[in-house]
Symmetry: D2
Subunit: 451 residues, 4 copies
């Protein structure tokens, strides 16, 4: 899971890149980076670092980065080996052409492509998709970047959204199914692409539209041109519903649907289909807030902040010993005993993946005196792993993959457990039908190719 940003301007872009990825920090806190095309030197300068945007870039530095075309990236930690540096952007040069890439997504045939290239003698320095894509692109890029991107898209399968610097052009690409979000904006003479509209709006720009599935956007000499990767093929749109369930901020409007409104609607749908009489609605902060408000608004029940979140728990938290484990849980989320004592509560969260956090929270609420805990989830059970970039665990670790709802309830220890249905979710999305729901129903638009 990542956030990407591309800016084509007539001024230095380093500060805008900084503010832009700062506003998408929620999409990844593990590392961040930016690359800028320095027109004077005809070179790409870049920096990528572990840690938060605010810690990684200093004012002095940003001033020194010259150039009017830039891309930037925030990235969440992923499975895999932490000795190998997967931070983005990737920067390379080939036939004296300068290239840089940032990517959000996940290829289903990354291993196959890697193997093929290695058979030809190519070598890889990381296990990142972006390195694979950049190698293929570099190979085909002999002057016509649109052709090179099209030929690259013929090879790569799965989800991807790219922002590229190709010499003096900014290029943006969304995969043919549009699995991952990408929006196009304008601010004066400037063009912007970003994973979330908030990045564009916060910079003072206006969102023009979503980048279309399969679309290739090239900004060069101040002008934007749009291409489609194929004349003959129009795959169905399958944009990721999990953006709306969990990833995007409330102010995100992706593929025409606002995340907050969707979340409120999901909560309201659950409330309309409720058969339990409870005393109040308690959100799991922060992921459950919007659903809880939707539920409360619809049901007429009062919202109660029954779990208090520590805003400062972040990356720098020492590992607790076994005895300190419970202390560590309470530091993150402490039950507000006086507000829940003796109450029958509707606890609202956005999803259940492994179920361990839910289990701990229910235990914690019961110890603080809650009479009944009815857990309501604003997305259906996650039964299938995501191959398109959401960092869900393997099937074995997905609670819903091997447990019925009743077995899940028992494991978690709540009094009742309910999920919204796929139909409910569709209703909450105003009947929209272009979402990828493979994590719920296993209906994969593009199959995983392991070898």
């Amino acid at each position: 899971m990542s956030g990407i940003l591309g800016v084509y301007s007539d001024k230095d872009v380093s500060k805008e890149l900084y503010y832009g990825i700062y506003s998408m920090q929620h999409r990844g806190q593990e590392s961040c980076g930016m690359a800028i095309y320095d027109t004077e030197a005809s070179e790409i300068v870049y920096k990528k670092e572990k840690g938060l945007v605010g810690d990684a870039f200093k004012e002095e530095e940003l001033k020194n980065y010259k150039g009017n075309i830039g891309i930037a990236h925030v990235r969440s930690s992923s499975v895999g080996h932490n000795h190998v540096s997967n931070t983005q952007p990737f920067v390379g040069s080939c036939r004296s052409r300068k290239l840089a890439i940032v990517d959000n997504g996940s290829l289903v045939n990354a291993n196959y492509l890697r193997d093929s290239l290695e058979e030809e003698g190519f070598m890889f320095q990381t296990n990142s998709d972006a390195e694979v894509i950049l190698h293929i692109l570099a190979r085909y890029y002999k002057g016509d970047i649109v052709e090179a991107v099209k030929m690259t898209m013929d090879h790569i399968k799965g989800s991807y959204t790219l922002a590229l610097i190709c010499d003096d052009s900014l290029v943006a690409v969304r995969d043919p199914h549009g699995f991952r979000s990408l929006l196009l904006g304008k601010k004066g003479n400037e063009y912007l692409v970003a994973s979330e509209n908030s990045a564009i709006e916060i910079l003072g720009g206006e969102v023009i539209r979503d980048v279309e599935p399969g679309e290739i956007i090239v900004v060069k000499d101040g002008e934007l041109k749009s291409y489609h990767y194929s004349e003959v093929c129009k795959p169905v749109k399958k944009s990721c519903i999990f953006e709306h369930v969990y990833i995007a901020r409330n102010d995100a409007t992706i593929d025409g649907l606002n995340a907050y409104e969707f979340r409120i609607n999901c909560g309201a749908y659950l409330a309309r289909n409720e058969d339990i009489k409870a005393d109040c609605v308690v959100p799991v902060p922060d992921s459950g807030w919007a659903g809880a408000i939707g539920y409360a608004n619809e049901s007429g029940l009062k919202t109660t902040e029954g779990l208090v979140k520590n805003r400062y728990v972040g990356r720098t938290f020492i590992k607790p010993t076994q005895e300190e484990r419970e202390i560590a849980v309470r530091i993150k989320l402490n039950p507000l005993a006086s507000a829940i004592k003796g109450k029958s509560i509707i606890l609202v969260d956005d999803s259940i993946v492994r179920g361990t956090t839910s289990k701990q929270l229910v235990k914690s609420l019961r110890e603080a005196g809650a009479k009944e805990v009815h857990l309501r989830i604003t997305s259906p059970p996650v039964k299938f792993p995501c191959y398109y970039g959401i960092d869900t665990p393997t099937r074995e670790s997905l609670l819903a993959a091997s447990h019925s709802v009743e077995e899940m309830r028992e494991y978690i220890g709540c009094d009742t457990l309910k999920f919204i249905s796929l139909e409910g979710m569709k209703e909450a999305a105003h009947g929209m039908n272009t979402f990828c729901t493979s994590c719920f129903d296993g209906d994969y638009a593009v199959k995983k190719i392991d070898k």
Copy 2:
């Protein structure tokens, strides 16, 4: 504004100090520190650092700090010179006795005491109250720590809550009016004192009671003894209402009143006295959430998250230039246009100090399409500076000091503006009458002594 913690245990306390101040991080993000009495060496080891608890202390380090008596501190940035190190704890030795202090509060006669001591040839290395208090204490401490504390309390006027290491004793003190909060807890054989109950509860301890105004608690050889600073004098209790308005976390219960309940009640009181018909209630995150929920629950209006907060804006944010100012504001709080467009909204916040933030938010909401913005504040107008430790600005900067409510409304640019009344607040506190409300009514229990 600070948070203090003291632990007397039969085991090493460094990890508990760490977790405890981590849980009070919201009370101060500027610096933190801890001091521990190392019984083997009969020495006090300590560390104090700028920055967050998680950044300041590493696991390796904490393991190396030996000792079963400890105090710790988090501190918010204060007015004053940043070259002078005011981080706490202060540690000193006198007549081979080891002393360490942490303090939350503000003396009204600090300058007077400082001058008197300097007349006698004493010298100060910082401008912190804690250094003054420690000097006076050291002077009187010749073996009987209770006598020394009493004599010190005869000199120091204003608000203070102290946790002290005096050789092998842990001492806790709350000023005679009890301006600032201090709670006493127990966990097995361990005694704890903390500015907020959550620190005690999160560590797995149980709150026994609030430390009484004027009380001196001494834990030595595993036993707790309680003293009162004066046989003859019982000043009226004046605990700070701003803890409940703003400072403490929702899960704090101080002097018998839970902060969340109070905040909910304040919102509800405003709703009961409302004469505007609006479409929804919008909280100013995060300070306005509880009040907004109270308002919504009472009024039956829907709560809407109309302002989206960036959770990552912290200390490490580069200074925006003039042109970037608006970007920086939106990075912190971005209006959720789709949720507020065309709506008449009740905007709820906890207080107005300078009024500049409110002004920006109203502007921002109007630009995003809000039809009407009715600002409701869950505390009365702040007209008087605080001398007891709340970091309010001088009178000149307090908007309410020189503006009527209508003038404030005009300055802020909202359609209507209402504050809860002092009576309303009292009702929200279940009629409790022991609060200091000097920032609202100028009724100072202890006068400021400037020279």
Copy 3:
């Protein structure tokens, strides 16, 4: 200019790599790194950092690096773009084979190779030779590492010394002319290769011999095998004389010649051919010490430490303003006035490149009262740039390229100036005839290929 190290052991090698490159820190202070083959994980872990070895690696970290095969590197700053990360080792994988490389040297056909590979669609992420070499090697490495190395050596021209991890083998290579040094050592069951013998000896190992020009050494399953890159071709040996002039430590013995002895002999040769009667010999610290002692021992003149060096001037020294320039020079080397006042001195240094430092020192000595300054250089005039890895500037910046000795004397401002002759240097090397002296005579064994 770099130092490389390779270790094949039956124990974890991280600590030995650390100590080994620590002992070669004089060969490069800009960056350092190590890669280790973790047999359990069949993976290569690595770290590379800017800065000194002691700052880059912490004990905790070294403990965590598991694996019995390792390579390591120290590197001096080079010309070129500081945004591009050229730190070594380079690590890659190809056909599930793991590769890592460290290199000391400089290819004369790097640009040509780069262009050819880019024509085939390869992309480069740095401008380092090591990346080029690793790409070529990866391409040919399909199981037989010796064949792959031989085929790689057919392509790469110029100077190189390589230590490679190829899966579970340690491979060491010295270029066919042996431009750069590489020594082979043994310590119990362990094999070591290093740019300087001191690294082997300090680790407690024994030097077996120099790696031969064109030799390929492979250590696998605990056994060492040696190969020659070509059956038919035996290029003449051309080991770099500058190692003995300047780079290597006094305790280095490379290709059978000890650096200290050579330096002493050069000074003595100059003394035997002296026609000036001076009062004392002053070394330019630290580079001129050995030559000065050789001169003094031979001439019977007294050695005087007329220039005092600040041992702490390193990378962290703030840039002086124009007015502070002279202060900065004196901080580095301050004349010892009392020792040189009124004296006629023989000032001994190892080489003159740009001549600016010599000029400043002579000025400084004169101001401190020296009557006469006779500059003696223990290497011939450097008239030609080095293509094999010594960081000499372009021809234009080489003082001797465009100035006669008399013109150089005038520029520098000394009373007389003498260089050792090529013959003198040969005599000092006991008549050895296998050195590359291209920087003095322009006789390049391998021509530079720019395209």
Copy 4:
């Protein structure tokens, strides 16, 4: 052991303080600091840090420090507790007067003064002499700084050299016996005081003279005035001979005697009194170089660099395990086998304290093939601890305190061992008779007062 610096200028002094303590870095690498009187704010800004000058201060920072009066300090690690911050300067305020102090020296009655002050209720935050002195000074300073300093000097016994900021004055003080060095310089309108003349000269200033024992120098309003601490008392001068033996740089001229010349003379004296026929002279780097050159020049023997020093071994060196101990020793000083094999060598060092290093070096030289090792020391046996600031260990740890020269030779393992005599040292100092030699003969001018 420390280096102090004071500058009174008509310009900002931060950069000069930086360069000045950089040039005295050899006097202390543990911590450094500076304090500057900011005339505009009538305040003292300061910073003190662990680590080297170059690491502690950044250009940006230095620019921000405004003020024309400054003091600065470098400090070597001392015995004692590393949790207590003893870094200098100490800064305090008293009766709205601003004070700052840096000190080089060691009081013999520090404990007594501390106890007395604590009896009066004073409290100490460190165990540094400078804090004691500053407290006493603050007490007496009511406007007349000269009187205050005189009264302070009546209390403090032992060695001290002070540079003080007292509001808008710079004050420099040397103790009545002049144990520690302090020199006065001028540069244009600027006055400078420093522990070593090199600091003054490197800044472009000229040394005027040594500050006299018992002298108080006050620079105010651009004018220098000199006072003597007592009208009636003129103690004998006892300046520390160890400055010349070991501490000061070769370019230091303290109390009229140049350190390099003295060291050369000591080596020559030993050579004149030699009865062994050896092959060459080997210095222990870096401390033995000057003595070795003096010896070689006098004896006609050749100097040989038989031990090669690693210039980069500093504070950041990981702790070796037991097995790595010998590696660690060789990393610091590696014998140059080819130069000493089969040779009978004169090994010259400046002093023997514990004898452990000498023992290791002799072992190391023998293993590298030395036939005979004759150790010559350019100072007499150190039999008594120093109470005046040289960091010698307790008597028990001084090898010479409990061993005859023959027993020392046996412990160290050399063939012969000789020290220069006190008379020899006096001769090397041109008959000067004003040195403190208490570490050699136990003749303490001021007795240690423990309580």
